[in-house]
């Protein structure tokens, strides 16, 4: 049973369509990435999932239950980290933890709380309003974890975190994933998405462009960069490579095909090339290629 199931959801604000017919599923125990440029509709989609806003159409199921009908049951099992952490500034951090546990009708494990505070270097005596952006984010992370949710939804969770805490956070999330917790991560940091997520959904201008298995993406697609006075675009396209970027003396191709054929072609071309590199396509490359292609189609 999928933990997240979005079927043809859409959201209109007047005439503006913020999310248009988005469908995807996330399975239990997955570390799922949700990426897209600013204003793509990521936060709107998450806001609908959390019932902050009502969808204009489609169905949302979280943990097997319809949202918003079973919103309350669902939220008992969700931990949420907002991108802009603005909790009650007058409260001390320890009070925020207590209120969070109270909302979940839980007593809380003081040893676990201490472990999180030590791990993320949080001073529970401080007032939330006196914390820096990074420390506020850490408090939000702990609030999302302390009630042992089955699904953790995070919107840009690592903004403002230093590399040490960043690494610790993902270590904790990995532990949670191993325990069967599903993690839904929206991020602009493609490196962290690539490092931790097994699948990703791309969204742009409110439309879902695709859902990709990252292991497949990285293994199958190569990026070839050639430098030459006469760029061999026609030859490369003949073997199925797609030119994703071109300047006067440099071209980049995406290639998903027979490697022997690729190396044979490059070998034949070698006298006219100044330089050539072949690399696995990383997520950033894929992301840029996809958006450049979309932009081209739009223009």
């Amino acid at each position: 049973m999928p933990v997240i199931e979005l079927s043809h959801i859409s959201k209109r604000f007047g005439k503006f369509v913020a999310v248009n017919d988005v469908s995807f599923t996330v399975e239990k125990g997955e570390f799922f990435g949700f990426i897209g440029p600013n204003g793509a509709g990521k936060s709107t989609t998450m806001n609908m999932m959390l019932n902050f806003i009502k969808s204009s159409g489609g169905k949302i199921k979280l943990l097997g239950k319809n949202v918003p009908e079973h919103d309350l049951d669902v939220k008992k099992q969700i931990g949420y980290v907002p991108s802009d952490v603005r909790f009650y500034p007058q409260l001390r951090v320890r009070d925020l933890f207590c209120y969070t546990l109270d909302f979940h009708h839980m007593k809380g494990d003081s040893a676990e709380l201490k472990r999180y505070c030590d791990l993320f270097q949080i001073d529970p005596q401080k007032k939330f309003g006196d914390l820096s952006l990074g420390n506020k984010k850490k408090v939000a992370l702990v609030c999302a974890l302390i009630h042992h949710p089955e699904l953790i939804i995070m919107d840009e969770p690592t903004n403002g975190l230093d590399p040490l805490i960043h690494a610790r956070l993902f270590r904790v999330l990995k532990e949670k994933q191993e325990q069967g917790v599903t993690i839904f991560l929206s991020s602009h940091n493609l490196k962290e998405v690539e490092d931790y997520c097994s699948r990703i959904a791309f969204i742009r201008s409110g439309k879902l462009i695709g859902v990709e298995d990252l292991t497949q993406v990285n293994q199958n697609v190569k990026v070839i960069t050639v430098k030459a006075d006469q760029l061999p675009i026609a030859v490369m396209e003949k073997i199925g490579a797609t030119c994703v970027k071109k300047t006067d003396h440099e071209a980049r191709f995406a290639y998903e095909g027979n490697m022997a054929q690729l190396f044979s072609t490059l070998s034949n071309l070698s006298p006219q090339l100044d330089d050539v590199t072949v690399a696995n396509r990383d997520l950033e490359e894929q992301f840029m290629a996809m958006y450049e292609r979309q932009e081209g189609e739009r223009l």
């Binding site: 936060s43 806001n47 959390l50 019932n51 902050f52 806003i53 009502k54 919103d71 309350l72 049951d73 939220k75 008992k76 969700i78 949420y80 907002p82 802009d84 603005r86 909790f87 009650y88 500034p89 007058q90 409260l91 209120y99 969070t100 109270d102 909302f103 979940h104 939000a140 609030c143």
Partner: protein, 266 residues
């Protein structure tokens, strides 16, 4: 009841400040009574009758008694009380969206109905506490400065009725404030809306008093339902109270209905 506790904690400082300020104001106003009652009031008699009515000064002789004097002076504190109650209401829901705390609150397992319900309950308790303390201070101060021969039991009766009528008045402004708050996604305009709400209804009441053709406007003024001078003179006017209670119930139900359907500004 976690949100109830959170809401009470958030407002306890504001509540304390209002109680202290209103307490000092009451003490200051009532302490002037011994000096005021001996002053001649002949100059005031020159004022136009309608003007006297508008300022609830139709019976100048009353000003020589503690009940009459307090009834006149305290109407301005009643206005401030209305503003306090309206501000509690208009800020209650909109502040969460304006300050962004709604993203924390609404990601917890709490329904929109519970958010409105617990906030209404917390603000009602806060307002009730404020009002009871204010009335207790006012009563004690009146006892301290009352004229010789004034009946304590009569004063107590008057204060009991005023406490009830003032409580209903505050709850009316609180519930209308809540209704406005359900529409707002920012509390930037909450203070001006609260002031506008209280003064507009008060002015409607003044117009109703000055012109018999518009007497019906008096019912649109919750402050008039709890004017100390009227309460001390002729007791609670129940038709006002019934109208206020209807407004409280309708505004309350509408708040629940609107907030359930609202897209929250996160």
């Amino acid at each position: 009841m976690t949100l109830f506790r959170l809401e009470c904690k958030t407002h306890c400082k504001t509540l304390l400040i209002w109680m202290i300020v209103v307490g000092i104001l009451t003490l200051g106003l009532v302490s002037l009574f011994p000096a005021m009652k001996d002053m001649g009031l002949d100059q005031m008699k020159a004022m136009p009758k309608d003007m006297m009515k508008a300022f609830n000064l139709s019976d100048l002789g009353m000003l020589t008694t503690i009940k009459g004097y307090f009834g006149y002076e305290y109407q301005y504190v009643m206005l401030a009380t209305g503003i306090f109650a309206a501000m509690l209401g208009t800020n209650a829901l909109s502040r969460e969206e304006s300050e962004g705390t709604i993203s924390y609150l609404f990601s917890q397992p709490i329904s929109r109905i519970a958010i409105v319900g617990e906030k209404m309950l917390a603000n009602t308790v806060l307002y009730t506490l404020y009002w009871l303390v204010s009335m207790a201070i006012a009563y004690l101060v009146c006892l301290m400065f009352k004229e010789t021969g004034a009946s304590v039991s009569d004063l107590f009766d008057g204060f009991t009725q005023l406490t009830f009528a003032g409580w209903v008045m505050g709850l009316t402004f609180l519930s209308v404030g809540f209704l406005l708050s359900a529409f707002l996604s920012s509390n930037k305009s909450a203070t001006s809306l609260s002031l506008g709400l209280v003064f507009l209804t008060f002015i409607l009441g003044v117009v109703g008093k000055m012109n018999n053709d518009f007497k019906g406007l008096l019912y649109a003024s919750p402050v008039d339902a709890a004017l100390p001078s009227t309460i001390f003179k002729s007791g609670i006017e129940w038709n006002y109270i019934v109208i206020d209670l209807v407004v409280i119930v309708v505004a309350g139900l509408l708040t629940f209905w609107i907030y359930r359907r609202k897209d929250l500004n996160v």
